[in-house]
Each structure stands twice: as C-alpha cells, then as structure tokens.
C-alpha cells in the first residue's frame, strides 16, 4: 500500500469526493492556496498546504476563499448545506470557532430535529487543533468536547493518515454536520493509505492492541503516546489494550465497556483540559456502566486546567507525555 502523509490523505479525500459529487464545495480562509508571484495561483495550498491543488482542479466556483469572518462563512455554509450543497468549510484553528458557534450548534446541529427530520445538513467543518506549534493560547487548544456536548453535531478526531482519509470521506457523505479535527503537529505523519476510496463508519473505535491488565482509551495524537507507553510497559510485563476512539460523537461505548470488562482497569489519555472533557465523559460512562468490573480507580492523563503557554518550555510541559501515560497505568496496577 502506498505511504502518504496525514496532509495528503486529507487532501485526497477532498479531491476524490469533489470529483465524485459536484455538490461538494470547499470554503474558508486561504483555501484557494494564496497568491504567489503575479499570475501564480495556489502558491501555498492553504496555511499548512492541506488544500494544495484543489483550486487548480476545481476552480473558483467550488473552492471559495472567504473573508476573515468565521461567523459569516460558517453560517453561509450551514445555509448552503440545508439547500442542497455539501460544503466542506475550513476554520483554520478550532480556537476561532467561538465566533461561529451559533451557526454550528444552534443552526446546523438543530435543523434535522426542528424540521421534524425533513431537513438534512451535510456540512463538514474541518479545523486544526492541538499544542506544539509554538502558536500560543489562541491557536493551540483542543476543544472537541464543546462540540461532543451538543446533540446533532458529529465529532471526528483521526489519529493517522489511513483513518483521516476514510473518516473524512465518511464525513463528506454523511447527512449531518460533522466537525473534523486535524492535529496540526500530525500533518507530516506518514502511513499506508490506499489510492482507492473507502469509508470508516462513525462510532467504531479502533482497538490497536489487545491486553489483559489495563485498557488505555486515547484520542487523536494521544493515541501514539498510548501505543508507545503500552509498548514500554509490555517489557515490564504489564499488558495494555489501546483503544483509539476515532469519533467522539457518536461514541463507541460498547467497545470501551467490553474492553474495560476484560482488563478491569482504565486510563484515558486526552490532550484537552481535564474538566468537562471527553476524558471525564469516558470515565463517567465506565464508572456508571462497568463499575463492578473495575479493580482500581480510573486514571486520566490530560493537559492541565490552564491556557496553552507560549513559552516553549512551558508548552512542552503542558502537553501530556509517554511517561505520564506509563505512570498513570502503573498507578492503576499498584
């Protein structure tokens, strides 16, 4: 299978769906790629090169550069979705979604319900999240739990290139609004990605490793930490199951509960702040529905409850580490 980057996998998913379905359009800030020398289009392919080549192939009627007004263009995309298009709207940083929440949670997320099931809103909001780029507090947050809280909005957080392509194609074909989270530090990660089109269903977690002692549930970039920690712990005879949630809404409760029932111990790894997070949510579901299987208190590995620091040293301290995951697992075994 050919190796591709996370960035290229996302690009391939969009290009493939735009070829397949003429109602798929792309809009956002600089998605047409930015102007280079006079007469040069698509010089950059977006801020981080994810939409490279789409403007050249599909033109200005399907790849729309928007003004810097997220509230306006996300609302426009919601309106386009309910009236027959399938917009992919890029909100550069998830940190900016604050100004366009109404369009997502009050409009797009409610249409199906408020129109008695007669309205469909096939909208995809792609956005970057996560710390590590030295981009400071307003460009580094991990805010998926805000969207997972709202019924009617689906939340997808791919951890690798293969999943990114399959989940994004599924998101574009889905008839409900989806917020699609791309970790900005993972765009260069490579993995096997088929050239063909494929979809990964929502609500189906990926079990990356089967263990007997502890179940580690992880999200997005944290999946790699969890895997590495599990590998290290295996050398000491501690065997871990690693679950990549893939989608936070819908959430694959069944797999989480099944695996915790096997191991009796749970550690959740989440790059968000700890309060009201997906880590808190998963912990609560397990405490409520699998309490009798638990042999130890639940462990959580998250960022601290503070803004993402701009100081590189402090930012590095802020991000969860492999050693944190190992320590949390060991605490459940103590």
């Amino acid at each position: 299978m050919p190796k591709k980057s996370y960035r290229n996998a996302i690009n391939e998913a969009m290009a493939g769906e735009m070829r397949r379905d003429s109602s798929v359009i792309l809009m956002g800030e600089d998605v047409s790629g930015g102007t280079g020398a006079p007469g040069e289009d698509d010089a950059w392919g977006g801020v981080l090169g994810v939409t490279k080549g789409l403007y050249s192939e599909f033109g200005a009627s399907r790849v729309l550069d928007t003004p810097i007004s997220e509230g306006g263009f996300v609302g426009a995309a919601a309106g386009a979705a309910i009236t027959g298009l399938r917009p992919i709207v890029e909100v550069m940083f998830v940190d900016f979604l604050g100004v366009c929440l109404d369009g997502i949670y009050n409009q797009a997320g409610k249409f199906r319900y408020m129109f008695g099931g007669k309205a469909e809103t096939p909208l995809v909001v792609r956005t970057m999240y996560g710390a590590g780029l030295r981009a400071a507090s307003q460009h580094s947050q991990t805010l998926y739990s805000i969207f997972a809280h709202v019924p009617g909005v689906k939340v997808v957080v791919p951890s690798n290139p293969y999943d990114a392509k399959g989940l994004l194609i599924q998101a574009i074909r889905d008839n409900d609004p989806v917020v699609f989270f791309e970790h900005k530090m993972m765009y260069d990660d490579e993995g096997d990605v088929p050239d063909e089109s494929y979809t990964i269903p929502f609500g189906e977690a990926n079990v990356l490793r089967d263990g007997e002692d502890v179940t580690i549930v992880a999200i997005g970039k944290m999946v790699h930490l969890a895997n590495k920690a599990a590998e290290n712990l295996a050398k000491d005879g501690i065997s871990c199951t690693v679950i990549d949630l893939r989608t936070l809404s819908p959430l694959d409760e069944e797999t989480i509960l099944e695996e915790v029932e096997t191991t009796g111990r749970l550690v959740v790894v989440d790059e968000s702040h700890p309060r009201c997070s997906v880590a808190a949510d998963v912990s609560s579901i397990v405490a409520e529905k699998a309490f009798k299987s638990l042999k130890a208190g639940i462990g959580k590995v998250t960022a601290p409850h503070c803004p993402v620091p701009f100081s590189p040293e402090l930012e590095d301290l802020y991000i969860p580490k492999i050693a944190d995951v190992e320590a949390a697992v060991r605490r459940t075994m103590a």
Partner: protein
C-alpha cells in the same frame, strides 16, 4: 568444545514483506532440553502469529530477545547448544554474533520491490514476485475467496529457492481492480490466464487455494501442455456444500469482533488470528467496490452455500500431475470431498489444520508442494 555446537536462533523471515517480528512467548525455559522440530517460541508478525519450531536439538541456553518488541529479521532471539558447554562459551558466542550482525536492508533499499502491478483487459492486477530471474518453470499461487497474495506469506519465498514464484491478487481482491465483471469463475480464470500472458509465462506450476484452486483446475484445462503441475488446497468444485454461515458472515461482518470470529472459522487454532489480520480484512472490506465484488462472486460460484460447479470431471481429466491437500479440521469445505478420487491424484490430509493449511501447517504444505513439483522439474 568447539563453537560449532552452539547455534543461534534468529528472527525468521516469513514472507516477502516481513522486516521484523515480535517474540510473543517462549515454549521452552532456559536450561531445558529441546528437540529438533519442537515448538520453541511464538512469533507475531504483521500478518500472522505463528509457532517457530527448533531447527536443532540441544539445550536452550539463552532467551536473548525481549518479549513483545519489534525485532528485525536475522537478529538473535536465543541460543541453543549441546549439553555441557560452559556459560562463558555461550557469552562469547553471543558477543561474536552481535559484533558480526548486519541489520537487514529496510524497505526500498533491498533491491526491487516485491510488489508489482500489471494491466490485464483494462484491469489492474497486483502481484508479488520472488526469485524472478530463476530459469526453472515458475510457480503461480492463486489465493481463495476474500483472500489476497498475503495468504501465501509463509509459502512464497520458501517455494522460491529454485524457481520464480508469483502470488497474485485475484480481480476484486487485495490491491487489484475491484471490477469483477459478471463475477463468474470463468471471468476470474480469464484474468489469471491474461496475467500469465502479460508476464510471458509459458510453462507454469499452478497452486491454488479454495476458490483459487477451482480457478487453477479450470486454468490447467485451458493451458493444457503449459500446465506443468497442479496443486489444489481445499478446492471449491469437488463437493456440493460450502459452510453457508461462514459465507454469510464473511460478507456481512464489519466490526472487529464479528470479523475476528469469522476469520477464526478459517483456522483450527483460533490464536493464529491476530489483530492485524483482522484489521487487514476490515481495510479490504472498506475499499469501494470490494464487498460488491465478493457478493457477486459468491452469488455466482456458491449461492446459499451450494457450489455451482462440479469440477471433478475436469480435475480427473487433466493430464498434468495433480496433488490435492486438505486440512483435516477444515470447517469451510469438508475434507470428505476427497473421497473417491482416482489413484492418479495424490491426496494429502494435513492434521491440525483448518481451511488455511498453507498458513497453519506451512512447513508440511511447503514440503508436499516442493516434492510434487520437484519430481517434474
């Protein structure tokens, strides 16, 4: 004592794509006696977990490799020696081995890629090749329904010592085109025949598994003199029934647990089915067109678990040497299909194997195929 009585156990290379493996567990403790062909340890690769049998008799002196870590092929896993050799000699042997050990070339650096693609009648056919430059009559490995070239991971390279061995992905399968036309067995056989022509392979030893064995039988009839020999492993077409539950679940299973359960029906020892095998099958089933291709083939070749083709007259009428291999514990197609074969057809029932004896009892099956082929040349 001479150092010739100390033997390294190294990470084996099972299949063309294997670059590393993990030691999952040891079956023999340090200091225990071990016989040749005794189960020594269990190794997990990205394709399968399998038992490694000792190639020497002696005493297991060291379990050198850590458990559950990725270890490159050729690396030292442990040491066996004759009884009565000093610990210091063992340590010196290990030191010497490590000093002279050269890590294998990584992907892409070790010559041409084993994977290639050829176009046949407008369809892309992906295949793996081993020892392509050898002169002897080559072998073509044809996998079964829902499988791919990786089903031969423990056979292709082993059979390639003296000859080229090709393993293709049938149309609708693996990395080949998902367009299967009308999905009939003749369309599949057409594409395999086209594959041989495209690669300019004249004489060929055909080895097929299950549906691929049915293809091999029909292909041997078509190729006439060009078919040097035929090996059919649990062929479709020699009996009436196929496990209908299996077929239904094979087509519909999507989530991990059901997929694992259905793959376990293929083998006698369910532990062979590891999570990567499950994931590979899920990945294949997610590809656009793959499920449709499988359904189309299934409804043409074996609707409702009833086989549509009686290939016994074809098989019996072939002129080339024929070998039929069946796993005694096959739960997909019952080995009783071999009842009443004429004596001109060599039949071997392999104990302890299910529907995938080439994976589950690879050494036995490889030896059978090799002997069958070598007597022809």
């Amino acid at each position: 004592m001479s150092a010739q009585n100390i033997y390294p156990i190294v990470m084996p290379k099972w299949g063309l794509s294997m670059t590393e493996g993990k030691v999952v567990k040891w079956a023999v403790a340090e200091g225990e006696k071990v016989e040749k062909n005794q189960e020594l340890l269990e190794i997990e690769t990205t394709k399968i977990t399998n038992v490694y049998e000792s190639t020497k008799s002696g005493v297991l002196r060291r379990q050198f490799a850590p458990l559950n870590e990725d270890i490159p092929i050729g690396s030292l896993l442990g040491v066996i020696s004759d009884a009565g050799i000093d610990d210091s000699a063992i340590d010196a042997f290990i030191e010497d081995f490590l000093a002279n050990y050269v890590p294998p070339a990584i992907d892409g650096e070790g010559g041409p890629s084993p994977i290639a693609v050829v176009e046949v009648d407008g369809r892309k056919i992906s295949y793996m090749r081993a020892n392509e430059d050898a002169d002897a009559v080559p072998v073509l490995l044809i996998h079964g329904f829902g499988g791919d070239a990786n089903n031969w991971v423990l056979n292709q390279e082993q059979l390639a010592r003296a000859r080229a061995v090709y393993a293709l992905d049938l149309i609708g399968h693996g990395a080949s085109s998902k367009d299967v036309g009308d999905g009939t067995i003749n369309t599949i056989v057409d594409s395999v025949a086209g594959f041989l022509d495209a690669l300019e392979i004249d004489q060929v030893h055909l080895v097929g598994h299950s549906l691929g064995a049915a293809c091999a039988i029909l292909l041997a009839e078509r190729l006439a003199q060009r078919a040097a020999s035929l090996t059919g492993i649990a062929p479709v077409g020699l009996s009436e029934e196929v496990n209908a539950d299996f077929l239904a679940q094979y087509l519909t299973a999507e989530r991990r647990r059901p997929v694992k359960a259905v793959l376990q029906m293929l083998v006698n020892n369910p532990d062979l089915v590891n999570s990567e095998m499950v994931e590979d099958f899920q990945k294949y089933k997610r590809l656009e067109g793959s499920t449709e291709a499988m359904s189309r083939i299934a409804s043409s070749v074996m609707p409702d678990g009833k086989q549509q083709h009686d290939l016994r007259p074809v098989l019996f009428g072939l002129l080339c040497p024929r070998l039929i291999i069946w796993g005694a514990q096959d739960r997909i197609i019952d080995p009783s299909a071999t009842d009443g074969m004429p004596e001109t057809i060599h039949v071997e029932i392999v104990e302890g194997a299910g529907h995938l004896p080439q994976l589950e009892a690879a050494d036995v099956v490889n030896a059978l195929i090799e002997r069958h082929i070598e007597q022809i040349g």
